[in-house]
Symmetry: C3
Subunit: 436 residues, 3 copies
């Protein structure tokens, strides 16, 4: 590692403003509110749950204070992880706690008390935003959420389609959709109409894109209106769909959503390949896993059918990394986006960044998103990415000096490249040129 | 990166003569003829097509001059890619254009004019061959191609079997085979006989091997004569085969080809795992993709059944990289060959080279092939590989100094190793000892 | 590579005592007995078999002396491999032969003669154990093996379940089980009872865990008693099970074994994903391969059903590396264990170590096991791992200095971390705290 180049590059890249094109932030409760709130993030609860078999230690709905009391003594078990290192940055940057103090379980309760006061102060969130240089934050919104009460150019809504696609027959989504749109849903036409109304509402509120977290080996293909009529009817009776019906409904909904993305001029952001709820003893949000046997082939019809819709795409498994890179290489409407969840570690980020920079047109690459639930996490997660990027770029700078084919990549050009993928590209791809 | 070691190693390796065991060169039109011809290569047209959604910008059959006019302004969108860096080397080495000039879209039209004169000069090809140190170039030939009119010890023919295996029922291959061999094809026996005649003709013309670009999850197993009789009959009627019939015909043909490889004493070169024509809006040759869910298990019967036939093998997906390495480690007749297509980037090459050198008997490794359509591409592609190899070897040299098990790998030995995989091994594996 | 840091780290790590949690050592014949015995290890016979097509050169049961005579001239073909480098360390450390001499095929016969005397000397094994700093060696035992005649706190037995699960219908396991337990096996109850007795016997003899080398895409699910009754009956008639019956029997047996692991308080060590006997021309133990299309999803039921059983887990394919890491990240009872077989090369070890250290709670990581058949192999294999670990740690130390989130990882802490995964964790996970 060329430490001086890495340091220089990182320093500059760290100064960039942050455009975060995917989070789960709630603008009304954007901050974690306390150290306990920070530690309620599933990355900590799931790691501590995994570190020690201790049934009942965690319960849904326990207060952040109680969570902190229960989790403190477990934290040393995960001190080695990058996830824990995010916590250190949060404590240091936003609460002014020296990192070493955060290693000591005994100190956390008093830090928690201090944190609650600090984080409740007026101006705390604004300072956090300034310190983190946050310029744009994309949200994850349910179809029936109210999209007012916040600055929706800063916090841009995004429509999540999972509840009425994959979960349509295992939750109240369609009934809620009928209520929120005032359209009785009884067949495919009314489903279309209701979804259209939802898109219109989201469009009025400046939404950035539709998105989905898709299951492994999802396949998209045309599904007839009559077939979907029957499926909608069955869902409305409360019955569970058969596997075939479920596949058909998912395919139908993906195509309908894409049609509406086209109509409303927004991308469809795919996050491919999560097996939901496979770990029975997990904490909330800590029960899903990656599946290594999962090809992007099932999306061919979708990509081909809608050449004029953009598909920013993340994958959950390293086994799909080359598939995504190759798709972005030849398919004009596939854009590699970030490093999702189980791939969001320096080892896997480094490989994927390196690959993408080698063979994908630069302006198609969306560097990173935080996936954060609280504002506090955006800075440390972006820093992890940026530092990894700085290391990859330093290596490319050095290698380019003697590369027989390439023109030398100097630091200035490398920084330009970082700027493009972190700042310029998401603006262009999500039609968000007003960010500044 | 130990820059001095890398430079010294690269300098030496770059001086090696080039043995290129797989290309798509047409010896009658071996040069691209112009800068526009260079840019007609699908790596550029597909990347530019992917970089910008612009339906109709490219059409099949447009002239190189017209292509150059259309593609020039798009090239800056792919300046970051390694594929573009090949273009820089071609311009600099064969046309004498400074790399920086090639970055300027405005200059390309005048460079194109200059290039046409230069590349039309007598002796251009010979000089290119000398400058690139090309000593052996393997071709990709259709079964009914004439194999004369060129020096077939320098340009060695290779028989491509895709048209009469995978595409037998979706093209005129069998009818053309009947015509070219004068054997009416009406059942498995006449198919065998015709293919035998083709092999004999290729053998007379010093062919190196039979080859195929195989579809994911191809499975080879014995297929009876009666079954194949019916399949051949159906193909000859122009009907499309059922999926089962198609699988049977592919398996039958693979085994028949291998039988003939055995008879004629040549290897069967496998290139495993391409999904054909999945991108509908692609340029020519820019529509195929890699599939990550694809095991080599389907070839077990083939490898076992023909212990005395050599199978140089490439894979298209990183997910098969360890499968190929492990197969070459234990199977005596599997030889890892090159870094194909979507794996032909420095990131993936580095990992695979490193793995192969650690666990596969050295003399079984075929370092690289260019897959080039024009002679101009061989040099830059081999340079990319050689530079990556130099970096991997420099790392191994340094690591070996303190390795508790290994004998130190000095630069001389590392160069010997590079020489073997780039020069000596392909000669031995393809029975081509006359290269010098 | 920061050579000085690597050297310092390696020197210290190499001084650690060795806890080897998986081998195939026979305590009665723990040493290879001769150089020929060393070279009988399938890593050498299979590589030499792969290096040169030479039918009949190897036969089952040939003497070590004869093997040495036949294999000597082939060894130079595998000089490049890491497997060969283990041989160099064995020769140098235990036989006092300079590494260079071991490169010369002509010298091996005389070295072999010398080796036999040296290795027959009283105290040879004790010295080897001392020199290698072996403190704990886990065995692989058949259900009907006698577990006496050796120090079973040093050589700890482990029960291998493959013969009566995957191979129940293709070998005499059930009949032998009936004999060895004196329980006539005629239905699921008697099978349960016999296995219970076997576990009791193993428990009396301080066994560490049950283990299995599982086939790709194994799926575990509940199987009813009546169904298993019929299956057991069929097996006892000598008939081969249908595919469905085979899957059911495997699932039934996995669950039964896990139930007994729970009862007897031991882990169940899974080694996932080997395709058995796919290479027909291979030497003994040199016929199995890795399959890249293989998800861990089939084990969900097993992991969920037994939250209080520990599952140390190895995978055979890099495509499962992230699956294993992610499972260990969220599942409390999955422990990533070592680097198995085709993944046991520095390239793949480095990636997996790096990933695991980033996202898995430290105390859940089991660093390495040798899988050795003779004591001599433990030292070189552990050295390969330890050197790779030292390189990964040196990189992390350097990177941590400028990492914006992490606390600096100094050498002392890095060594502590190495100590934990190599020494402390296996003791805790296998309830083996008496190691010292």
């Amino acid at each position: 590692m060329n430490t001086e180049t890495v340091q220089r590059l990182y320093k500059e890249i760290n100064n960039f403003p942050i455009f975060d094109p995917h989070t789960h932030i709630n603008p009304q409760h954007a901050s974690a509110g306390s150290l306990g709130g920070i530690l309620s993030y599933h990355y900590y609860t799931e790691l501590c749950n995994s570190a020690e078999y201790d049934p009942g230690w965690w319960e849904k709905g326990i207060s952040p204070d109680e969570l902190l009391r229960r989790i403190s003594s477990k934290l040393p078990l995960i001190h080695n992880t990058v996830q824990f290192s995010w916590f250190l940055t949060i404590g240091e940057e936003f609460l002014g706690i020296p990192k070493r103090d955060l290693l000591d379980p005994e100190k956390l309760e008093s830090i928690n008390e201090k944190s609650k006061k600090l984080m409740a102060k007026s101006g705390y969130v604004e300072k956090l935003i300034e310190k983190s240089k946050l310029k744009r934050i994309y949200l994850t919104n349910q179809f029936n959420e109210k999209l007012d009460g916040f600055d929706n150019s800063f916090y841009r809504p995004c429509l999540r389609i999972d509840p009425f696609s994959y979960f349509a027959d295992r939750g109240p989504a369609l009934k809620e959709m009928a209520e929120s749109t005032n359209i009785p849903i009884k067949d495919s036409s009314s489903f279309n109409k209701a979804l259209n109304r939802i898109f219109a509402y989201f469009k009025e509120n400046n939404f950035a894109y539709a998105s989905v977290s898709s299951w492994p080996n999802t396949k998209i293909y045309p599904v007839g209106k009559t077939r979907e009529d029957a499926i909608i009817k069955k869902i409305m009776t409360g019955e569970r769909l058969s596997d075939h019906e479920h596949e058909d409904h998912v395919a139908y909904t993906f195509l309908l959503v894409t049609e509406l993305c086209k109509k409303y001029g927004v991308p469809f952001h795919l996050m491919i390949g999560v097996d939901k709820e496979v770990y029975e003893h997990g904490v909330e949000f800590g029960t899903d896993l990656v599946n290594s046997t999962n090809s992007m082939r099932g999306y061919d019809y979708l990509f081909n059918r809608y050449p004029d819709v953009r598909f920013p795409t993340s994958v959950l498994s390293d086994t799909q990394g080359l598939e995504l890179t190759s798709s972005a290489w030849i398919r004009h409407n596939v854009y590699p986006s970030g490093h999702w969840w189980y791939l969001n570690n320096p080892t896997d980020i480094a490989r994927e960044v390196s690959r993408r920079l080698e063979v994908v047109p630069l302006h198609k690459i969306i560097a990173y998103y935080s996936d954060a639930y609280y504002l506090e996490f955006i800075l440390p997660k972006f820093r992890m990415y940026k530092y990894t990027l700085a290391k990859v770029l330093a290596e490319k700078i050095e290698s380019s000096k003697y590369d027989p084919n390439m023109i030398e990549l100097n630091e200035e050009k490398a920084l330009g490249l970082a700027w493009d993928i972190l700042w310029k590209n998401p603006q262009a791809i999500f039609n968000d040129s007003s960010a500044s």
